[in-house]
Amino acid sequence: MNPEQKRTIPPSPSKIKGYITAILFIILIWGSSVKTESSIGEFIVGFPNIMDLLGQMFPPNWGYFNNITDAMLETIRMAVIGTTFGAILSIPVTLFSASNLVQNAWIFYPVRFILNLIRTIPDLLLAAIFVAIFGLGSLPGILSLTVFSIGIIAKLTYEAIESIDQGPLEAMTAVGANKIQLIVFGVIPQVLAYFISYILYTFEINVRAAAVLGLVGAGGIGLFYNKTLGFLEYDKASSIILYTLVVVLFIDFISTKLREKLI
């Protein structure tokens, strides 16, 4: 176009890759909305119902707080016990999955594989299975939280162990320490703070999880969602939600403060 232009402008890179990505993405979203029968129209039609529902939830039934305090305490207990068992059981799992402690790939890879399997199953699904085995109550809830906690704590901790400073370990090996001495004097001091911090973090997650486990019959305050929502008592349901919010935020606050002090 411009005759006096003598310089060589580099050719602009092809945009085909971008277009293909965009088209694939649109197909993915469109396909998903067809599959799930989602439509904005239906949402707009249903929207007054949502407003209506929110209207019924407000104001919350303050008196209902007394009825659910026991269940709330049970929820916290479940989280405490589940996290504790999970933390204890995750210790051996951790030690066997850290590649700098167990040099044998035949051990740490299978252990990690099982760990990954555990982490693919959501806590509520575990709870549903445990309810089928043990019946209704908080026991299946605790068990599912335990298994779930192992998945998180063991993974975070073995990654922490793998990133520790190797210097002290070499120094210990040089003075002739055996494996257990190595772990007690070389590894534990370096990762203990992280381990405790991960336990607290998992506890925060578990409190939230425990609050809904009751929906599948695994104990705690979640049972009351079924009761209240089943009877269309939305003001009570919103009391449960608010109560859970307050407890969760309070526990998060304390736990975060403790974690900040640890690390």
């Binding site: 998903s32 599959k35 799930t36 989602s38 249903g46 529902l53 693919t120 549903a128 809904v212 969602y225």
Partner: protein
């Protein structure tokens, strides 16, 4: 022979503080365990566990694909579609929340603090309860699940996005202001290009979580593989439970692998 005993004073740790923590922990555990009582284990527990294990090892292969369409593949596909759409919706809806709660996007602290509280509130509102409420609004099915995931994920994604905005380099913003760009142009040319990779990566991370969440939405009737799983559990069809569990594990693992690969490419 030296008879002098050398006394090196131990550095005084805050012993009172430690003892306080230990006794607090002890009290918590006494309270927690005493409240639970001894669990009653059903007689059939062992039998059922065995049955479930045998179900996992002898899964109902025929269920993978059945002519009626009510099979494993359809259930998993439905679950995946719920997770994709829910994540997509929340990734869009959380952007205003993220800018609202990013401390470096507004003067003063009141506005971002309030935004952070709003996100915290959404995060704590359980997605299953949201799903129950959406079922009341749009009827049972996958759409209610999509809406529940879409709304619930805003809480976490909004928080992660706002942290990404807070960690960005303010230099390009300053450079754009210096060229005479207005606020929207600064946003588009200096801020968005910096935060997009982080946003995409967090969205994929949330997608991994949402795939897991979508598998259980069916428990309360919000679509996905959870519905047939609950049916199989209640009708004690352990072989079917087995194949569904295997299906979930395989799907989640594959999604994690793909998403992890993509996330590495973005950062």
């Amino acid at each position: 022979m030296s008879e002098t005993t050398r006394i090196i004073p131990k550095p005084k740790k805050n012993k009172i503080g430690l003892w306080f923590i230990y006794s607090a922990l002890l009290l918590i555990y006494i309270w927690a365990f005493s409240g639970m009582g001894l669990p009653e284990i059903k007689q059939t527990a062992g039998q059922i566990s065995k049955a479930i294990f045998s179900g996992i090892f002898h899964p109902d292969w025929n269920y993978i694909s059945e002519p009626g369409g009510e099979d494993l593949l359809h259930g998993l596909l439905d679950t995946l579609a719920i997770a994709i759409l829910g994540t997509f919706i929340s990734a869009f809806l959380c952007i205003p929340f993220a800018f609202w709660s990013a401390a470096n996007m507004s003067k003063g602290r009141a506005i971002p603090s309030f935004g952070k509280f709003a996100l915290s509130f959404i995060r704590t509102f359980p997605e299953l309860v949201m799903a129950i409420m959406f079922i009341k609004a749009v009827g049972p099915g996958s759409f209610a699940g999509v809406l529940a995931l879409g709304l619930h994920s805003i809480g976490m994604l909004g928080k992660l996005f706002s942290e990404e905005i807070e960690n960005m380099d303010s230099g390009p913003t300053e450079a754009l202001i210096a060229t005479g760009a207005n606020r929207i142009q600064t946003l588009w040319f200096a801020i968005i290009p910096q935060v997009i990779p982080g946003f995409l990566s967090y969205t994929l991370y949330r997608f991994e979580i949402n795939v897991r969440s979508a598998t259980i939405l069916g428990v309360i009737g919000a679509g996905g593989i959870g519905t047939p799983l609950i049916f199989a559990l209640t009708s004690r069809d352990w072989n079917r439970v087995g194949i569904i569990l295997i299906g979930i594990i395989v799907m989640v693992t594959m999604i994690d692998l793909i998403s992890g690969y993509l996330r590495k490419k973005f950062i």
